[in-house]
């Protein structure tokens, strides 16, 4: 399907109702619902204070059921649900820009841009008012604007763009690792020098005392020796740089940083706000620039391309979906497994890891991510098509149609449940308890979405969003029922 201008002519006023339910793709909403629920599997780590850093993985290493649960989640969920959300976002973006509606093309584009800007605004609220540093709405809003000029690209071009983003993302992993390697090399040089200095000075001392020199002159000689025997600023800097890197990775038996984190997160709103401010800002600036752009970019491009191929309209044969699904998931699983193995090597001793490995554990994470997500998409499309589990798809569809609302419900509930100004469960739940909670949230959200959509056209936040975009209140209540 190529890009079709949505009709031109004299500008029309915003119509009374913009009920686009006929234009929605059922399967797309199912996937969106799946993504929004799935995201919680990973974000609960951060909400609940479960994974403060990689230490958790070390502590869980080889410990029966807990570890096996954790390992599976890392392989099957980490990054994939966010990726699925981004992919669906890319498809939705094309759907918005190309579906027939009452607007002229320029009007559609104007509303599209407003839509993205409001999305960014909602993201800022999520991050700085609801205090969710893991927010992705802001990023998706920005991506929607940045990738808007690519909407006219051919589907092949979009696929290539997705590939390029993935390759660059892999490259970044490698360069970061190379930086760490370089830091270690410089550290070793400084460290050796320091040891030599220490030896020299002990040696000197021994000689001096053997020669029976008076104490005063020993002191003088010592100070001269010391002057020549100190690291230069540059060498000191080199040494500290690596020490900083290992500090992040190393297992801290005193758990000092963990304690501090828990204390901060279990306090009042103001304190938590202050504590998370830098993290949220960092996520929206540095992380976005270095990682997020490529991570989201590759998946959004893929979503745009798949839209072009009519992938969500069942334009391929049934068997192809199954084939793509299984292939994607198997490859993703193998890559994920390998990554996990490498993580095991890395956490106990990063120095040793660097000496023994040419690549970092997450070297192929971007590929694992995109391939597995594609596999999920294909498998779900296949399952919908062979017409089983209908009730499940209906439920997920409802969740997906209210994805925006459900996202906000999730973060409001979780922040209130875990942070200190709410119930303060931060860092108090075990992994199993946490996932029990996740399943509860899933059930509640699904039931709520299905019920809500029986009476209303849109979820409350979706409705608000549309009000803001079109500067017009739409009636939301359904007449029949």
């Amino acid at each position: 399907m190529s890009y079709q201008p949505a009709g031109t002519g004299t500008p029309t006023a915003v119509p009374v109702s913009l009920n686009d339910s006929e234009n929605r793709l059922f399967s797309l909403d199912v996937l969106r619902g799946l993504a929004i629920l799935g995201i919680l599997v990973i974000s609960i780590w951060e909400f609940g204070g479960f994974s403060l850093n990689e230490q958790t993985r070390l502590r869980l290493l080889h410990k029966g059921l807990d570890y096996s649960l954790f390992g599976h989640i890392i392989i099957f969920f980490e990054g994939k649900m966010k990726a699925l959300f981004a992919l669906v976002f890319g498809t939705g973006m094309m759907l918005y820009l190309t579906r027939p509606n009452q607007f002229t093309l320029p009007q559609t584009h104007e509303y599209y841009i407003r839509r993205q800007l409001w999305l960014m605004a909602f993201g800022i609220i999520a991050a700085f008012a609801i205090l969710w540093p893991g927010d992705i709405l802001f990023h998706l809003g920005v991506m929607g604007i940045l990738l808007f000029p690519f909407a006219r690209m051919s589907r092949k071009g979009l696929l290539i763009a997705a590939l390029i983003c993935t390759v660059i993302y892999c490259g970044k992993m490698f360069w970061n690792y190379a930086d760490d390697k370089k830091a270690l090399r410089k550290y070793s040089v400084s460290k050796k020098l320091e040891e030599k200095f220490k030896k020299d000075s002990t040696e000197r001392h021994r000689k001096d005392s053997m020669a029976g020199m008076p104490v005063d002159s020993i002191k003088v000689r010592d100070s001269i020796g010391k002057k020549n025997d100190t690291l230069t600023r540059q060498q000191k800097e080199d040494k500290e740089k690596w020490e900083g890197i290992t500090k992040r990775v190393k297992y801290d038996s005193t758990k000092a940083s963990e304690k501090a984190e828990k204390e901060a997160m279990r306090s009042g709103y103001g304190k938590v706000w202050n504590h998370l401010l830098r993290r949220s800002q960092e996520k929206e600036s540095v992380w976005f620039y270095k990682t997020g752009f490529w991570e989201f970019g590759s998946l959004i491009f893929l979503g745009m391309a798949l839209f072009g191929f009519g992938y969500f309209n069942s334009s391929f044969s049934k068997n192809k979906y199954l084939l793509f699904g299984i292939t994607g998931i198997v490859i993703g699983f193998l890559l994920g497994w390998w990554r996990l193995e490498l993580v095991h090597d890395k956490i106990p001793d990063y120095e040793k890891y660097i000496k023994g490995h040419a690549i970092p554990p997450n070297q192929f994470f971007p590929i694992e991510n995109i391939v597995m997500t594609f596999g999920y998409v294909s498998l779900v499309l296949w399952l919908i098509r062979i017409n089983i589990l209908k009730w499940l798809w209906k439920g997920l569809n409802a969740v997906g149609r209210m994805a925006f609302t459900n996202y906000f419900i999730q973060i409001i509930f979780c922040t209130c449940f875990f942070y200190g100004y709410g119930f303060g469960y931060f860092g108090r739940l075990s992994q199993r308890e946490m996932y029990f909670l996740v399943i509860e949230i899933w059930l509640v959200q699904t039931v709520f979405s299905v019920l809500w959509l029986r009476f209303y056209h849109y979820g409350p936040v979706e409705w608000l969003w549309r009000w803001l975009i079109y500067a017009k209140r739409f009636p939301n209540k359904k007449k029949t029922v």
């Binding site: 093309l105 320029p106 599209y112 940045l146 600023r233 800002q281 600036s285």
Partner: protein, 442 residues
């Protein structure tokens, strides 16, 4: 102001309207080099050394003028015209029945601007690049292109408040340390037993004080100078983390708001017909007097009470200001920028130096080329892989060089535009935006 506009209702020809805008843009573009040249040509410790004194040197006088009269104003004016230019771009283009919409061209154009900005920063190695963040600001402006003037002023004000808030937040930390220190000292005087926190407050402030007294770290300063005089690869790797920092933290915490404030202001002023020469002479005179008359004294005071006092006596500075003097930054530069524009339009109207105004308009018409050209000329002149004059000149001597670049750009732009329709980089930018080779020759 509206009533005055009505007194002068004759519509101004499109060509004429664009001309004054180009002229002011050309002026701002040349002016930007005044602020950028120290970044290109001199080690940062120059600022510290000159501000510290003695205060009767040519360097200090130059710095006073630059710091109180020009600082931020040329960038401000340039941003204002960027906002105005956005409206011009979207107004001048007609929506075609088929083919891309204006919005699509607009966003393509900005995406390329971001790319050019990265090119300027990472490849031409100019760490003070503004194109990158102009691109991002522009992406926000689009939806406000039809907003009325009052809204635009309000938006400019809101963006300014964000900058103020961030500046104050940044200032609260040292200020808080100072207060804690003074309380601890008072407690010691009252011969009370000091808590560990109070002892910490004293020692951390004293540490900061001694750091301030020492001035810039010679280790870093020497390394900076050595690096800037070395080859391309070394400078490139040296700047990568710094460029990344300014394109992330810099954009997010500062430049974005810095740009938007002035861009919204520029859009509002454009809506009033300010840049397009549509107001009466008396209005321009009035705003010249207000802009300079209020802006310059504030600028001078802010310079004396700001950087000068900070270096002369940081304790006094920290004691004196509960609110950082930086809060006034945007107000001051907004006023002075408006003053600059009024002055130029008045000169234009008086027809004293029409040739100069024409030349400025030419520079403005090729603003994009000239901006990148400044990076190319200056990096090649000062950096090690070119002539390597980095940190070899005194501060005031840099401005002879600026003067030379100005003359060069005024002449070259005028000659170039005799034969070609666009500057070379404008041509490239256009061709990339429309994804088609554009005709260049006249």
């Amino acid at each position: 102001m509206e009533t005055i506009a009505l007194n002068n209702p004759a519509p101004v020809a499109q060509a004429d309207r664009v001309k004054t805008i180009d002229m002011i843009r050309g002026f701002a573009l040349l002016g930007i080099l005044l602020m950028n040249i120290p970044g290109f040509g001199i080690n940062w410790d120059a600022w510290y050394n000159i501000l510290k004194g003695p205060h009767n040197t040519k360097d200090y006088y130059t710095m006073t003028i630059i710091g109180s009269f020009f600082d931020g104003t040329m960038r401000g004016l340039f941003s204002m015209l960027f906002g105005a230019g956005m409206i011009l771009f979207t107004q001048n283009k007609k929506e075609l029945p088929d083919g891309p919409s204006v919005a699509e061209f607009y966003y393509r154009r900005l995406l390329w601007l971001v790319v050019f900005g990265m090119f300027n920063a990472y490849i031409l190695l100019w760490f003070g690049d503004i194109l990158y963040y102009y691109g991002f600001c522009g992406m926000v402006l689009f939806v406000f292109r039809k907003s009325n003037v009052k809204w635009l002023f309000a938006l400019a004000f809101v963006c300014m408040l964000v900058t103020m808030f961030k500046n104050q937040q940044r200032w609260n930390e040292p200020r808080g340390q100072r207060i804690a220190y003074r309380e601890a000292i008072q407690a010691r005087k009252d011969s009370a037993k000091l808590t560990p926190e109070q002892q910490g407050a004293i020692s951390s402030w004293e540490k900061m004080q001694s750091r301030n007294a020492q001035g810039p770290d010679t280790f870093f300063m020497n390394r900076n100078e050595r690096t800037m005089r070395s080859n391309y690869a070394t400078i490139f790797t040296y700047w990568v983390p710094k460029n990344t920092d300014s394109e992330t933290n810099g954009l997010y915490h500062g430049w974005f708001w810095d740009g938007l404030t002035m861009m919204f202001l520029g859009m509002a002023l454009y809506g009033l017909g300010f840049f397009s020469n549509r107001l009466s002479t008396s209005t321009y005179v009035m705003w010249l007097l207000i802009g300079y008359g209020v802006g310059i004294p504030i600028g001078y005071l802010a310079f004396q009470q700001g950087p000068v006092l900070q270096i002369a006596d940081f304790n006094a500075y920290a004691d004196r200001f509960r609110m950082t003097p930086d809060l006034i930054y945007d107000v001051r530069r907004g006023l002075i920028s408006v003053g600059h524009a009024c002055l130029l339009i008045l000169i234009y109207r008086s027809k004293i130096v029409p040739w100069l105004m024409r030349a400025l308009a030419n520079v403005g018409q090729m603003a994009f080329t000239n901006y990148l050209m400044q990076s190319i000329i200056c990096t090649w002149f000062f950096y090690g892989y070119g002539f390597g004059f980095y940190n070899k000149w005194q501060f005031h001597q840099l401005y002879y060089f600026v003067f030379g670049v100005w003359i060069f750009q005024l002449i070259v732009s005028s000659i170039w535009l005799k034969y070609f329709r666009f500057g070379p980089f404008e041509w490239l930018w256009r061709s990339l935006t429309y994804w088609k080779r554009q005709p260049m020759k006249r």
